[in-house]
Structures are given as structure tokens and as C-alpha cells.
Symmetry: C2
Subunit: 400 residues, 2 copies
């Protein structure tokens, strides 16, 4: 794949250097027409018959398999729907039911907060004395014991890009009889993932970041074929029923992953996601990863040379070794928020995470050497001239 050609597949504002694809991926050019077709021809023209005619009903499984290829899932083991928070809840509830005699869930303090919130919400709802144990990221392996039902870990840290060793942690969990649940929010479309190969039990992720599925695009969930027949969906919705349109009074879970569907799928969001996956179908994740590392190294080296830490106070927050890093590069700076605003004002868009993290997503489909070099030069210009020190760059927006 020629990564210098793929930028043309996206509708990016002229001259913008968009390094925030780890938060919201840009618009695939084909998505506008695909969504318009879903609205006008399918909804408008076919109305209720579109559930069959336009294939809306089976779309979550079809899209799931296309995402599955990118994360090393077996066919028929991924479905799309709801939000990542909901899918974490479903996976953890199913996992705990598979380990009824164990009371611990292990996670790390670097996990995205919603995973921790929803896990604690579930444990509290269960009221059976479960405990969520959060340890430092490097202490997970050591915290797994014979009372551990599951580990719930996000592979790539949303702030620093620090990457867990999924294979090693999964093996460690299994050795102790625990299940491994992986949040792939910053992995899917960012780094190669091999769920089947490492024997992951459950996984879930979102599609609006690296996968470019659009704002509010649905989440995905993976259930290992080992658990497909016994995993009990805590959120037992009609579209997860074995025969949704028989309207039976009692719930009979659908076959395999189908039972992890809940309610009516978001048809318009799925249309946008479909257009995004048309691009991903052509992507080789190994090649993408190599390109991501090359661009990330260029960025880190460029910033080190142009903005020396001892002069400007900018410190690399991401691991220096690419093997331990996802597809983002983060720096720390006490004036991180204002610096990011100054960057955005100059057309270089990353984002800020409190208290002091500047994040830059490295997304080879639409970022190349030119964009990296421009980001480095702009950052150097801002730091060199203290150009961030203006009142307008210190005003906080609601969503940062």
C-alpha cells in the first residue's frame, strides 16, 4: 500500500495537519455519499423494507468481521453496536459469570476512566463482594492471583501511548485461571492485534478514532469462540435473541457473538463506518505499523532536535522504544494546554489531556513526512518565541 496516496481518500481541510485521529478520525471522502444513500435511498425510499433490502439487520455482524480482520479475530466473533462503555460492561459481566468463585478484577491506573467507572458500577450492582483492584501498569502481572476472575486492561494508554504486552499478560492471566479482557480503543487500526493468536477472552473497542468511523460511531465487541456458547449477556436485548422477530416471552441467547447485540443498530452511523472500512479492507496492518513507527520516530527525533527539553521544558511522555508505544506520541509541558491551543491556531491539531499532556496521533493513512515536519517546525516556533503566552490560548473550552 502506498501511504502517500491514501491521504486523498479523506476529506481534510486544506493545509490542516491533523494529529488528532486518535480522538476523532477524519471524514473518508466516500462516507458523505454512503451516508446520503442510507438517508435518502434506504430510509427515505425503502422505509421499513430496508431492514431486509438494504441489509441493515445483518450489518453489525458484517462490519464486525471486517474489523475482526484488523484485530486478529476469528470470523464470526465480532459484532458492532452501542458504545465502548456498554461493551465493557457486557464483557465484564459475562466474564465474571464464567468465574463465579473469584472476586477480583485487576486493572491499572492508566486505564481510561470509563472502563474503571463502568466496572465499579457493575461490581456495585452485583453486590457480591467483588473488588476492582487498580495497580500501576507495570504491576498488573504481579497482581494476578488465584482469586482473580479477570484482568480488564486497555492495551494502549490514552495519555502516553504506553503499550502493554497483550500476549504476556493474557498468558499470565490464563496461568492463574483468570480471563483476559482487552480494551482496544487505541489499538484497532493503530497497531497489529492478534486476539486469536494470544488467546484473548473478550475484547472491545471504538471505531471513531483510528478507524475513522465518524463521531459517535458504534463500538465493537469480540468474544473468543471458547466462550461463545456460554457467555451470558447481562444486557439481554431483543436483537441478541435467537429469534428476535418471533417475539417470544423468554430470552434465548443468539448463537455465539450474536447474543452480544442489544437493541436496534444505529443505521446512519453504520453507513459511515462502512465507508471507512472500505479503506481499511485494503490496509496491511504490518505495513501500517512500520510506517507509523517511522513517522513517530521522525516526530520524536525532530522535536528533540528543534525543542531541546532543557531549554523548553518539553518532555517525552511516551515510551522511547517503539515496541512499547502505540500509534501516538505524547509530551508533557506545564503549559501544555496553552501550547496546544497555539498549535491549533496555526493549523496543527493535536489535543490536550490534563494535567500536562500534549497528544499527537500518528495515522499513516493521512499523515506523512510533510505533516510531521510541519508539526515539529510549528511547535519549535511556538516554544522558541513563547507564542503560547497569550490570554486566548489559556481560555478553556468545555471539551478539551
Amino acid at each position: 500500500m502506498d501511504f502517500t496516496a491514501t491521504k486523498a481518500l479523506f476529506d481534510l481541510p486544506e493545509g490542516l495537519v491533523y494529529l488528532d485521529g486518535n480522538s476523532l478520525g477524519p471524514l473518508p471522502r466516500a462516507a458523505a455519499a454512503r451516508v446520503a444513500k442510507a438517508v435518502t435511498e434506504e430510509w427515505g425510499g425503502q422505509l421499513i423494507t430496508a431492514w431486509n433490502q438494504a441489509g441493515w439487520m445483518d450489518q453489525p455482524m458484517r462490519l464486525g468481521d471486517r474489523i475482526g480482520r484488523l484485530i486478529g479475530a476469528e470470523p464470526g466473533c465480532v459484532t458492532v453496536g452501542d458504545t465502548l462503555t456498554i461493551k465493557v460492561y457486557q464483557a465484564l459481566a459475562a466474564a465474571l459469570a464464567l468465574r463465579p468463585d473469584r472476586r477480583k478484577v485487576i486493572s491499572d491506573t492508566g486505564n481510561f476512566p470509563t472502563d474503571l467507572y463502568v466496572a465499579r458500577g457493575l461490581l456495585e450492582t452485583l453486590g457480591q463482594g467483588h473488588e476492582l483492584v487498580t495497580v500501576a501498569p507495570e504491576a498488573i502481572a504481579g497482581a494476578i492471583d488465584e482469586d482473580t476472575a479477570a484482568i480488564l486492561v486497555t492495551e494502549v494508554d490514552y495519555r502516553t501511548g504506553r503499550r502493554h504486552d497483550m500476549a504476556a499478560l493474557t498468558a499470565r492471566a490464563h496461568a492463574a485461571g483468570a480471563l483476559a479482557l482487552w480494551d482496544l480503543a487505541h489499538s484497532a487500526g493503530a497497531v497489529p492485534v492478534d486476539l486469536a493468536g494470544i488467546g484473548a477472552d473478550f475484547a472491545m473497542g471504538c471505531t471513531y478514532k483510528f478507524l475513522n468511523g465518524g463521531p459517535g460511531a458504534p463500538a465493537f465487541i469480540y468474544v473468543s469462540p471458547r466462550h461463545a456458547a456460554e457467555a451470558r449477556p447481562a444486557l439481554a436485548g431483543w436483537l441478541g435473541h435467537a429469534a428476535p422477530f418471533a417475539f417470544e416471552p423468554d430470552y434465548r441467547p443468539g448463537a455465539g457473538i450474536a447474543r452480544m447485540r442489544v437493541g436496534t443498530p444505529p443505521v446512519l452511523q453504520m453507513a459511515a463506518l462502512e465507508a471507512a472500512l472500505d479503506i481499511w479492507d485494503e490496509v496491511d496492518m504490518t505495513a501500517l505499523r512500520a510506517r507509523s513507527i517511522a513517522l513517530s520516530e521522525r516526530f520524536i527525533d525532530g522535536v528533540a532536535a528543534a525543542c531541546p527539553a532543557d531549554v523548553h521544558g518539553l518532555a517525552l511522555a511516551s515510551p522511547r522504544d517503539p515496541a512499547h508505544r502505540g500509534s501516538q506520541v505524547s509530551f508533557r509541558h506545564s503549559q501544555g494546554y496553552a501550547i496546544m491551543q497555539a498549535l491549533i491556531a496555526r493549523g496543527v491539531v493535536g489535543d490536550f489531556r490534563a494535567p500536562d499532556i500534549l497528544r499527537f496521533g500518528i495515522t499513516p493513512l493521512y499523515i506523512g513526512e510533510d505533516e510531521i515536519d510541519r508539526a515539529v517546525a510549528t511547535l519549535a516556533e511556538i516554544l522558541g518565541g513563547s507564542l503560547w503566552d497569550r490570554p486566548e490560548y489559556h481560555r478553556r473550552a468545555t471539551v478539551t
Copy 2:
């Protein structure tokens, strides 16, 4: 409001009589442009900044209040997101936590199956000996006792259109110290609802039926201001946190209804829903109800005259008294499926629900006397000539 003029606000296929707005409402003409704007200008042009600039983040509360007016909710008590199944789970989990010493949930056998599935899934997950008691619709009041934590009832039956007396059942629940949870799937935009007036505790519904929000449009949830400060969200997601972007390790529920938000809202679906609500903002629910009853009576009387039950075997499945009926009219016939296919083939679209129900949604925004009369004439023609008795009308589609 002149209901003969509102049909022009919808993009309906020429000549189609669409009596399935109780399943999927048609496309508001303005929705195509609104969604295209969300895709191209907001997602494409503003990218991540659209969360603030385009108001994506607050949209669930704004849309919630606009729906709130149609269902008699106090301002600030409704939010939009997820699916109805998820919102039922949230409401029931919150309700049970408010009545910790009670073990029964009462529903009826006419409830939409997903409500029963998700309720049982929750009770099983809780593992605290709760019981879902389902009784005949008319037996709910009598089944409420001192051990009843909540009633979970759908106001309008999805098959027959039979309508519960929300005020009376809510009062009966309260008299026994129980909470009243109302599923408004077939009520919102169909009949006047007065949540605040009757003192409902929780309510939820979907927006893709009578409200015309589009396929997979998000659900809504109402929490009475009496419970807003104590209702505990079992699905504790980051967007329900008091400060989502502070990324605090511990969950602090947002103020009031905001805590019932879970994950990232479906921005493209919300854009379509917004266009639909632009129409609803102008609708007086009392006038709409009067028009719905007039059209429903015309349909029932017309069918009775043109297709006598003793000749054609078509029996009214809906209550004859409009006060006990929502905004749909249903008939039973042993050949219901084939008759519906024959109707659809002639451009009169209702739908079929097993084993023998033909459903027709009465939606005054785009259905008038002409459409009703054409539906009656087409049904009479099909029954009079046994025109349904063709192999192609007996072939079942996946989604019926």
C-alpha cells in the same frame, strides 16, 4: 396546525400509503440536508472541535428537552442516547436500588419482549432473589403489593395498540410504595403523555417510530426530579460523570439526568433526530390526538363496512374505544402475513406481527383521509378476491 400540509414535510415515495410509522417513521425532508451538514461541515470541516463548535456534546440534553415537551416532562429531566433496551436496564437498575427491601417487578404479558428480556437479565445479574412477575395487562393493578419495587409497563401494546391508564397505575404503584416505570415506545409522538402530571418515576422510549428520528435513532430516558439526585446509574459511563474531561479515577455522577448518559453520543443519528424534532416543535399533541382518533375511527368503520368480519374473517384486534387505544389499529386474520404482503405489493404498507396481527400506524403528520380510504379499498379488494393467495405473498423475509 393544518395536518393536510404537514405531509409535504416528509420525503415519501410517490403514491405510497405508509401506515408503518409505528415501526419506522419516514424521512423528514430537512433531515437529508441536516445529516449532510453534520457529515461534511461538522465532522469533515470542524473535526474534533465540533464537539464544542457544533454543540455535539450538549445535544443529548437539548434533544431530550424537546422530546420532554411531548411527553409532559419537566425541563432538564430527559436525555437522549443508546437504545431503548439499555435505557430500560438503567431505569430498572436505578429503581431497584431505590427500593432495596423489595423483590418484585411487575410487568404484563403484552409488554414488548425486550423489556422482559432485559429486566430478567438484570435480575439474574443482581442475584438477590428478585422476581419478574408478568400478569395479564388488566391484572397489573391487582398484582402490585408491599413487596413490589417497581412496575415496568409499556403504555401502548405494540401488537394491538391497547393502552394502559398510566395515571391510575402510577397512583396504584405509589399507594403500595412502588415506583412506576413507563416504556413510551408507542406513546411518544403518538398520544399525549403527562409524566410530571401523573408523577411517573422513570420513563424511556425510542425516537425512530412516531417521532421519525431515523433508523437506529437514539432512545430517551426520563428521571423524575424526585429521584434525580439519588438515582444511581448502573451503567456508569464517562459522559455521565460530573466532570467527564477531568478524567478522574473515581466516578462522580453528573447532576440529575446527566448521569444517565453513558458513552459518546451518536452524532449523525442525532442530526437526523434534530430535523425530525424541528417538525415536532410545532405540533400540539392534543390536536394531533384528535386527528389520530378521527382517522383511526374512519379506518375501523371503513374496514367494518368494506370487509365484514363474518365474510372475510378479519377481526379488530385493537380496543374499539379510542380512549383505550394508542395511535395504531390492528386486525387479526389467520392469513395475516400473506394479506400484509399483498397490501405492500399494492403500495399500502403496514406490518405483520406473529401469529396473526396486521398492524397499521395512524400518523396524522403524513396520513390523511385519502390514505385511509385507499388502505380500506385495497384491503377490501385483496380480501374480496382472495388476492393474498399467491405463493410470493407467503414467502417469509428475515425481518417481518
